[in-house]
């Protein structure tokens, strides 16, 4: 039995977009045998994890975990299918936050009027994950817990300044996105915890956001992606900027220098370029089939420009 740690350790050696790195040596496509449990309540799920966490893997949409099982990069003793837990799929605003249940599917995020109107970066990103098949199954929680730097939602959550609500046997804890993503396939979540929901601060007026993704082909993981949220004041001065970079390093990155460079400024072409240059400097892309590192870094720059432009248009009342 391979432990979660050993999987993570082996995956960490090879960097992002990794399944392929190992799969080329392991051409098996049939998973090893495992036991299957399907708790009906959060409580039941957490209790099981408390007991068997080391030997168990949570199954949400399955669109990252099943490939790992099939390549035998993960061979857990138990699959804990959380799909039957009622009340984990929701999108609602209350107490100054947007609450997204961890089991909420991308398709529902993409279709949500609320998200389309106020959290465009999230509907942009969710709408561009893989293909409709994956979007009908994949969950926001799974996307984040997987912490693949090539996944679109980790960077999106960084840009939005989201936090994750983890549930363990001793109760809930709230983890800010910046601390949540630890490394490739590694999060701050404990093996005995479930991710319950994602919280995004409700944006104030004159806020706009956008996600830009460069892909080789629809349905593919991004070459790189950039998430941006911009908050202007009534005078059009940038009050706050959130950025997140996809496929630009071992985990989703938050280019703080770029964010800071725009704060307190009226963002014109020059300021945007300056921020994009800083974002590109922060990127640590690696060369692979999706392109050489140099290209990816340049594309972070190009997409940061485009994402900021789009976010600003939206902040100023465009769509």
């Amino acid at each position: 039995m391979i432990s979660k740690e050993s999987i993570i350790a082996s995956l960490n050696n090879v960097g992002p977009n990794t399944l392929y790195e190992l799969s080329k040596r392991l051409i098996l496509l049939i998973p090893a045998s495992f036991d299957y449990v399907a708790p009906r309540t959060l409580d039941e799920g957490v209790k099981f994890l408390e007991k068997q966490g080391d030997d168990a893997k949570v199954l949400a949409g399955g669109h990252s975990l099943i490939p790992l099982l099939r390549f035998r990069l993960a061979s857990p003793k138990y699959l804990v299918d959380i799909n039957r837990i009622v009340g984990l799929e929701y999108i609602r605003e209350s107490d100054g936050y947007l609450h997204i249940g961890s089991l909420t599917r991308y398709a529902d995020v993409e279709a949500s009027q609320l998200i389309q109107s106020k959290y465009q970066v999230l509907s942009d990103a969710a709408g561009h994950i893989a293909d409709p098949l994956v979007r009908n199954m994949g969950t926001v929680g799974g996307n984040i817990c997987h912490s693949d730097p090539a996944n679109d939602l980790p960077a999106t959550m960084l840009a939005l300044g989201a936090s994750m609500v983890a549930l363990g046997s001793s109760g809930e804890r709230v983890i800010p996105a910046e601390q949540f993503f630890v490394d490739t396939f590694q999060t701050a979540l404990k093996l005995t915890e479930l991710l319950k929901e994602i919280r995004v601060p409700v944006p104030s007026a004159h806020t706009g956001s956008a996600y830009m993704k460069l892909e080789r082909r629809v349905g593919d993981f991004p070459i790189v992606g950039v998430a941006a949220q911009v908050k202007l004041n009534a005078q059009g001065i940038c009050e706050n900027v959130g950025l997140g970079l996809t496929a630009a390093g071992p985990k989703a990155l938050k280019p703080k220098g770029a964010e800071a460079s725009l704060r307190g400024k009226k963002p014109g072409e020059k300021e945007i370029r300056e921020a994009a240059n800083l974002a590109a400097q922060d990127a640590q892309p690696v060369s692979d089939l999706r392109g050489p590192a140099e290209y990816k870094r340049e594309m972070i720059r190009v997409l940061t420009v485009r994402a900021l432009q789009r976010a600003l248009e939206r902040a100023r009342g465009g769509t």
Binding site: S23, I30, S33, R216, R217, L289, G291, P292
Partner: protein, 781 residues
């Protein structure tokens, strides 16, 4: 008998495909759908090394695993004389290695188990120890002195040297030339990516001594004959069945080690054995296409008149030379590389090499290397136009083989049957609005925007082929049709070909309908079962209509001749006095007194002339007198994103000429599919290897094929120039667009960049590759 006049769907009608109701309702019957009582499952341990000595195989743990019955290794097969098998190109290939592996993903040991999961568990438990050996993955390096030798049984990596044309005559044209252009062109290695992976079910009946194999093969008869020759199982005791096939594209002409191991396992265990490749296994071990390094040179006069062509090629064949070629053509039909252009002389040379990569080369709707040939000539002609500062359409027109010169003898010896290249091009340019597009391009350039227009005016060569030149391991490349008309006027027709999605059940029925006047729905078409089908060489290289389609017409005509005798008897008239009108005979001058083909069929079994055999059936083995030469002009319009290097294909127009058309709907479908494949080749598909021979791109996460989203909206049109030698004037069409389109895409992208001094970009046109050029030329945003 008052019967309603039956609906006849003869040639030229766009009827829907007869096979589709079963496919679209999930009722196709593919190899993996076959489930036999007591069936076992075979899975393979595959080499993790590209080149290594096997020092030890330990199967103990695997054999101890519940459900695992046996582990088959090369040594086991060696004992039975089956460790190696012959290839289609007179080479031999390891079934399972006895001591050396020669590519990554190669089958090392077969695990036979009660179910698919146990087999996979067993594979994971077999321990193989390797001692790595030096690797060579680039065919050009493989031919250099001192390169690691790939094959344990050979002392060189050279596979063959082939040449065509008059070298001295060509050298002379280069001396006479005002301009010479030269370009290195790499045609990348790709995988056919059919929907259904390779697999088989082997069932040995020990009482009857008969081996039945359901397998994914495009050429069932050839497989049966070769299997009999190799195993000494009498040929009547081998039955190969190709059930429905989910795409072949040439990759299923090859014979794979898994077939042999499955057969051996069934013979040994007495139980049916199923073997189905996973997608990743398939991508990493089955036949690739292309991997072809060319240097093309064109000599011309200042006015654009082409004088001579020279192409030098190094080709990769992997570890075993198993290309699915006609035997006398190690480089396929590459000598079609003079394309649509009239020139004095040409010379082409190909040097084949072994590398530590899986065998292959001929696949992916390539018409036996015509993809490479068409790409080379259509690219180098564009480069010449650029150099001469001539419009690429004008240059082409100036050099086209004129319509009145057909049949045309090409500089490399082919006799083109018919063509009208100028007509196809005129139609294409008019339809796309070429002059306006050029104007738009000029204006865009002023604004710094990048837009390009690419043209490809290809000539195909299909329908192998005349028996005197074309054979596979000595088996002549005719093809066959057998028609039996039942007493009540319906029919079954069987063929030596095998559809993999081409729609044979419909088109063949339409041909017979055209010839005999039977309704299409009254004709059942069957292929793929060697116990019932007449002998044939199978379906690939767009040969089915030119060969078996012709056989259908000829067999129908034999039936019609006999029907005439019966009609004469029934009408008490002389044969000479009878007139045939589709579906019936009548006596000249009295059309109301007719005997329908149905009347005649019934009489053939109930009231036939006393001096004639009963029955109404015929078989024909058609040996085509020549190849057919389809052609067309494709125009592609692209826009390039200066920020990212992404290319957007704005428009793509294909004007095709495949002679007379049996079913326009199917022809259009074939063209759409092949255009999409050409698009994939041009923009995203490529199998790469690192220097250790690790395959990069062994699954659909890394190896991309296009989806409906990025595939352009195709515009299609046609001209019709019938083949003069084919019974109903048809030519093949399945591969025209894979042959013709890649150059159009690349020409368009190069055209968009030509004012920056760019003359060539290798496929695939990845965004980063295009961006690199933008950056180097200082125009990246």
């Amino acid at each position: 008998m008052a019967v309603e006049a039956p609906v006849i769907h003869e040639m030229g009608h766009a009827i829907k495909r007869k096979e589709d109701p079963r496919f679209i309702q999930g009722h196709g019957n593919y190899v993996d759908d076959i489930k036999l009582p007591g069936m076992l499952h075979l899975d393979f341990v595959r080499s993790t090394y590209a080149h290594a000595k096997i020092t030890r195989i330990n199967a103990e743990k695997a054999l101890a695993h519940p459900g695992v019955l046996a582990v088959v290794t090369g040594k086991d097969l060696e004992a039975a004389g089956l460790a190696w098998m012959p290839t289609l190109m007179n080479d031999k290939q390891m079934v399972l290695p006895t001591d050396t592996v020669v590519y990554q993903g190669q089958e090392v040991a077969g695990v036979v188990a009660e179910d698919r999961y146990a087999a996979a568990d067993g594979v994971a438990l077999v321990e193989v120890e390797y001692e790595s050996l030096p690797v060579v993955v680039d065919p050009r390096k493989a031919l250099e002195p001192g390169a690691p030798v790939v094959r344990p049984d050979k002392n060189t990596n050279a596979v063959f040297h082939w040449e065509a044309g008059d070298k001295q005559a060509v050298d002379k044209t280069f001396k006479e030339a005002d301009v010479v252009v030269k370009q290195d062109l790499y045609y990348p290695r790709i995988h056919v990516s059919y929907m259904e992976t390779i697999g088989c079910v082997a069932q040995f009946d020990s009482i009857a001594g008969k081996l039945t194999m359901w397998m994914t093969t495009q050429a069932p008869h050839a497989v049966r004959t070769v299997a009999s020759l190799v195993t000494h199982i009498p040929e009547n005791k081998i039955r190969i069945v190709s059930p429905d096939i989910g795409g072949g594209f040439g990759g299923k002409v090859y014979v794979y080690p898994g077939y042999v191991v499955a057969a051996v396992a069934s013979i040994k265990t007495g139980r049916p054995v199923k073997y189905i490749n996973d997608r990743s296994e398939d991508h990493q071990s089955t036949a690739f296409g292309r991997d072809w390094y060319m240097t093309a040179e064109l000599a011309a006069k200042r006015d654009g008149r082409i004088l001579g062509l020279r192409i030098n090629t190094t080709s990769d064949h992997g570890a075993f030379f198993g290309d699915a070629n006609p035997s006398k053509f190690p480089a396929g039909l590459f000598s079609i590389c003079t394309g649509s252009y009239d020139m004095k002389a040409a010379y082409a040379e190909v040097n084949g090499a072994h590398t530590n990569k899986p065998p292959g080369g001929i696949t992916y709707r390539c018409s036996f290397r015509v993809t490479e040939a068409a790409y080379a000539i259509e690219r180098i002609v564009d480069i010449l136009a650029h150099k001469l500062n001539m419009d690429p359409a004008e240059l082409r027109k100036k050099n086209f083989v004129p319509a009145d010169k057909f049949p045309y003898k090409s500089a490399l010896g082919w006799s083109y049957d018919s063509g009208n290249y100028q007509a196809a091009m005129d139609k294409a340019l008019k339809k796309i609005g070429y002059a306006e597009l050029r104007k738009e391009q000029e204006e865009k350039r002023k604004r710094g925007e990048l837009m390009g227009i690419g043209i490809s005016s290809f000539t195909e060569i299909v329908g192998a082929g005349p028996a005197n030149t074309f054979d596979i391991l000595g088996l002549k490349m005719f093809d066959s049709c057998e028609i039996r008309i039942h007493p009540t006027g319906t029919a079954i027709a069987r063929f030596g070909t095998k559809s993999q999605g081409q729609g044979h059940e419909t088109t063949y029925a339409q041909i017979i309908s055209e010839e005999l006047g039977l309704p299409v729905d009254a004709i059942t078409v069957e292929e793929g079962d060697t116990d019932t089908a007449p002998y044939g060489l199978g379906t690939y290289a767009s040969r089915s209509t030119p060969t078996a389609g012709a056989a259908a017409a000829m067999a129908s005509r034999k039936i019609q001749a006999k029907a005439k005798k019966i009609a004469a008897y029934l009408l008490e008239a002389r044969e000479e006095d009878l007139v045939w009108e589709r579906g019936k005979f009548f006596v000249k001058g009295s059309p109301d007194k007719a005997k329908t083909i149905q009347d005649i069929a019934f009489a053939a079994y109930t009231n036939h002339p006393p001096d004639l055999e009963a029955g109404l059936e015929a078989v024909h083995y058609y040996n085509p007198p020549n190849m057919t030469f389809p052609f067309g002009t494709y125009v592609c319009v692209v826009d390039i994103d200066r920020g990212t290097g992404e290319v957007k294909v704005r428009r793509f127009l294909a004007v095709d000429d495949c002679g007379n058309i049996i079913n326009p709907l199917i022809v259009e479908g074939q063209i759409h599919g092949a255009l999409a494949m050409g698009f994939g080749t041009a923009f995203m598909e490529e199998i790469k290897y690192d220097s250790d021979g690790n395959q990069l791109g062994g699954n659909f996460m890394d190896y991309l094929i296009p989806t409906a989203v990025e595939t352009p909206r195709w515009e299609t049109d046609k001209t019709v120039t019938p083949s003069p030698h084919h019974p109903f004037g048809a030519k093949g069409v399945g591969e025209s667009a894979t042959v013709g389109s890649p150059a159009a895409y690349v020409n368009a992208v190069v055209d968009a960049l030509s004012h920056l001094g760019v003359t060539h970009v290798d496929m695939p046109l990845h965004p980063w590759r295009v961006w690199q050029i933008l950056k180097d030329k200082g125009v990246a945003l």
